[in-house]
């Protein structure tokens, strides 16, 4: 396989695509927000439960490409238990990572499993796929909108 492609479709991504974590409807969610990429038809619903500034629970449903689904899955498992501020910081770092703008080892280390998405920066057309769930979460944490679109 081409090295960039190998970097893009890492085991972590293929695994989360096949068996997405926290892939369920949350009946008692505080927030339920839709994320949509009309260009490729990726469509997710992110469910959120926040207590005392901490993300108690996070789940999602929907469908899309491997990159978008794995990203939503990894995001849900990493953000759960983090404070809203920490989640927002991760969103920023993740965005820098997929844009190829993340500098320094320290930053990379703090990303944990998210580093699997570093290969996305070599595929500009796929940045939106990787960041769809994150944009949706960001909107859920910071505004009252019910829908977010990457177009």
């Amino acid at each position: 396989m081409n090295p960039e492609l190998k970097e893009l479709y890492q085991e972590v991504i293929l695994d989360h695509n096949k068996s997405p974590r926290n892939f369920r409807v949350m009946e008692d969610a505080d927030r339920k927000i839709e994320g949509f990429n009309p260009l490729c038809g990726d469509h997710y619903v992110v469910y959120l439960k926040v207590r005392d500034g901490v993300v108690q629970d996070l789940s999602f449903t929907g469908s899309g490409c491997a990159i978008s689904k794995a990203s939503a899955s990894v995001m849900s498992s990493i953000v759960k238990g983090k404070s809203v501020q920490e989640a927002e910081l991760l969103f920023e770092k993740f965005h820098q990572l997929v844009m190829g703008d993340l500098n320094g080892e320290a930053n990379a280390e703090s990303l944990g499993k998210l580093i699997a998405f570093a290969g996305v920066s070599e595929f500009p057309a796929r940045v939106k796929c990787a960041s769809l769930a994150w944009h949706t979460l960001h909107t859920a944490l910071t505004s009252n909108e019910e829908q977010v679109s990457t177009e």
């Binding site: 490729c40 469908s63 057309a125």
Partner: protein
Amino acid sequence: MISTQTQPTKLTFDVVKIRKDFPILSQQVHGKALVYLDNAATSQKPQVVIDSLVRYYTEFNSNVHRGVHLLSEQATKAYEESRVKVQRYINAKRSEEIIFTRGTTEGINLVAQSFGRANIHEGDEIIISGMEHHSNIVPWQMLCAEKKATLRVIPIDDNGEIILDEYVKLFNDKTRFAAYTHVSNALGTVNPIKHMIETAHAHNVPVLIDGAQAIPHLRIDVQELDYDFYVFSSHKMFGPTGIGVVYGKKSLLETMPPYQGGGDMIKSVTFEKTIYNDLPYKFEAGTPNIADTIAFGVAIDYLNSLDFEAIHDYEQELLEYATEKLSTVNGLTIIGTAREKAGVVSFTLDGIHPHDIGTILDTEGIAIRTGHHCAQLVMQRFCVPATARASFAFYNTKNEIDALVDGINKVKEIFS
């Protein structure tokens, strides 16, 4: 492979020779030979078309219609020659029936905004089909919203064919216009346009045909099938982008108000009154896309230099080969299985999103289109969010289709 090329019927078409006319095809992408299978989006350009653009800017760049100097005369002559080339290519009766636009989309908007706004009123109905590109839906929706008119949609069946019985039932005394595609960009379906136009004309309803996907593959004779409006783009027929055509019957075009106002579309202007120019200039406001129009004419010359029947047969052979080969891939479903199709195979792979297919094929040098192809309603009809689409031109080969199938098998391996 070799045996099929030595069959007597294929002797008139030499794909190896043809490919040399298109410099881009010998390019490498990601270190692999380019396999360009996104022709329904845009086709590649032969060297003669590229040379024409360079020549215009090098030798006679000048504005048309207004100058009295030599360069302007040369540019005007070449620009108007292109109009005649288009006229002859589609067998229009008169060159003033050829209106140059930026492309198919602008052409449809021209007809909707000019003919539509003058002739569609509250309560009227416009018929379109369920396999339209967004560009043949949205302009009519906009018109309907403005005029309080209604859009009626012809349903399509599971093969991706128009349901003709349902089409006939849509006509009533409120029907004022119909617009549908000749060939579907997402499904490849060739619609029974002759029969559909006859039905509309029997109800005195004029028809616009979106020919963007048809004109690279089919011989178009606007008089033979009695087209009212036929719109298409140069860039899908091996010419430059940014230039397209509205063919309209003179009798209809004459009744239509101008679409845009400005220079060249007028005879005289006073602050009290403007007298509009004659056809076709009434619809060509401002400085046109001169270089690309001239190069478009060169693309038509190029097409005329080829054996059209041989091209058509060869493309059908490619389509059959691709359909057969792709059908053998486990988990692959072809979307759009109409009896008559032109150069398009849209498909899905079980459990693998089209965008992942597209990215992986790209690293193999294979360019296909993935997504909804600006035909979201077609995707909804077939309950898929998107498809992967391979579309062919006469410069494609069976080897390239084999490369596509190998690439798809690699996609499946990665996701296994």
